[in-house]
Symmetry: C2
Subunit: 347 residues, 2 copies
């Protein structure tokens, strides 16, 4: 059997109260006594039963997610996973005393986001997870939370200078480089111009993906020629117009890399003129539309990050910060997934 606090008390020859004072770092214990207890702890290999401790404390972890509104399918999926993690009927929700709440904010509105962060902080939650927008107001709001001791994790889009404690998302420069590596190999041998469609270059993650991608395309023996970046505002309608013109006007187009959202528009443009489809088409994030396009051969590969993993990871990490415990960085690393038609997860 695992040793309990009672065993520690007996082993150290002190009372339960003293063991408690040492274990919970309370004042009023002589240094010598403290050491006796700690020696007993290591000798017996005691580890606190976290479940019992939380029961006794009737502690619960309030975690607030602040996510953008709107019709972005990835954000929708993320939202669904957050709700699922917080569901007390699930393992995480039930066993770990979570109280997850979800605050929607208008997409890409820095002022509203900063206000939502301040409001969320008022409730003194155990942690806050937020999809950051790259703006000084947001940076300052996160800084205020951190200063008040509330751990903040950024999701998907990072803001390293804000003082956030953790980022749950992919390395977007590496994602861009990965897209570049795939593009080079998928076009091995041949040359021709390559187009990039972004949402907006004011978005940090889009800028980063672009820089990684451009980097790799410029390297190596035969350099691929990158066309000027098109910005579609993550809007399917605008993306469709841009992609349609692109395909019509650049006859020898070798590849397209869509690094933002609005891919439904790109897919429509591609299926409207299948005979002019470039040799390699890459885009980001799995959704019903992108899955279908991959299966139909309209798209060659999809880069993705797992929204379920992001939601679970953010909760685990914020909990660990709240408790002052550690976590496994390898488990919390969000992978850059590459999906081809053949390794698509079911569903």
């Amino acid at each position: 059997m695992r040793p309990t606090v009672h065993d520690i008390a007996a082993e150290a020859g002190v009372s339960l109260a003293t063991v408690d004072r040492v274990l919970n770092a309370r004042v009023g214990v002589r240094a010598e006594t403290r050491e006796r207890v700690q020696a007993a702890v290591t000798r017996l290999g005691y580890v606190r039963d976290v479940a019992a401790a939380n029961l006794a404390k009737s502690r619960s972890y309030a975690i607030r997610f602040i996510l953008p509104d709107g019709d972005n399918p990835f954000m929708h999926a993320l939202k669904a996973h957050v709700l699922q993690v917080g569901d007390p009927a699930t393992r995480l929700g039930g066993l770990e005393r979570l109280a997850v709440s979800l605050d929607p904010v208008p997409s890409l509105d820095a002022v509203a986001l900063a206000a939502a962060l301040d409001r969320a902080g008022e409730q003194r939650p155990a942690g806050i997870a937020v999809v950051a927008v790259d703006a000084p107001e947001v940076e300052a709001a996160i800084g205020r939370l951190t200063a008040r001791g509330i751990p903040v994790a950024t999701l998907v889009s990072d803001l390293p200078a804000s003082g956030r404690r953790h980022f749950a998302g992919i390395d977007n420069i590496a994602a861009g480089r990965t897209a570049g590596g795939l593009m080079r190999r998928f076009l091995s041998g041949r040359s021709g111009p390559v187009a990039v469609i972004a949402g907006s270059l004011t978005l940090r993650d889009h800028r980063e993906r672009l820089s990684g991608f451009a980097d790799v395309l410029a390297q190596g023996a035969q350099a691929l020629n990158l066309l000027p970046v098109l910005e579609g505002g993550d809007d399917p309608v605008r993306v469709e117009a841009l992609a349609g013109r692109l395909i019509a006007e650049v006859p020898d187009l070798a590849g397209i890399y869509s690094l933002g959202a609005g891919d439904q528009g790109l897919i429509r443009a591609l299926s409207a003129a299948p005979e002019r489809r470039p040799q390699a088409v890459l885009l980001h994030e799995l959704s019903p539309h992108t899955r279908q396009a991959l299966e139909a051969g309209l798209v060659d590969a999809v880069l993705a990050q797992d929204p379920g993993h992001i939601a679970r990871s953010a909760v685990r990490v914020l909990r660990a910060f709240a408790d002052g415990t550690s976590f496994d960085p390898a488990q919390e690393r969000i992978r850059i997934d590459i999906f081809l038609k053949d390794n698509l997860p079911p569903g």
Copy 2:
């Protein structure tokens, strides 16, 4: 506050004892009373506090992992992750009352494996996780465990006919198809023979990968010519000899797919004659050697399954079976990871 059993009792107008009888499906409750209690449960949205329940039951989950000995780097990594999951100082180990033990068995020895399974079953563990060998003895042993009500999960290599409750590993046919898709695209335009190096075709996962790969290569406009499969017994020395001869004797070799282990030998052979390296080299599993080869450009892509995920997933799933609760299939799905030089996880 979340409702407790006391609230249920008050709401239903019955005693605590009766609530307990209903919740834990004990006998001696009239159908009508049972329904009153269940109505109160749904009305108040009661969910059992699993942590408190486990504390009261002083339940702990003994989970045995049966893993092959030997110098396979993937199995080493898997072993390390299993030990980490079982460590009571970690979240999973601490919060979830796990008692994980690890039984090593000689690699590829069906008789020893069957004996180990029987021995593990004697202790009546909450669950058993095993890397299956495709043999009737093993199938029978797993069947006996299942018959005794002990849930078994196969890891990495499956044995569907055995009656195992769960498989934690990748779909190897899909992995082979994925490799085929990458090979086709990496060789786009050009033709030439493609070689496959397997460990042994008596291994189910190797056979499956081969069949998926061959399938994809045969499809499509320009068929790639598959050379007869080489079997290297997962042994670096033998693989090196095979690969060396292959590179020397097939001048127009377009690609190599190594679907088993022993890749250190392949990498040595490739670096010995870098000028004759085929255009596309694919292999399985990340290890210090394969990482380095990817970074050096000797290998183009690595297909992988995350051993940490496999270990954690097996524990979660076996726990759920032991409790009769459900789990999230999407979370437990082991992905076919594709790593290029650019999306390699650090470390």
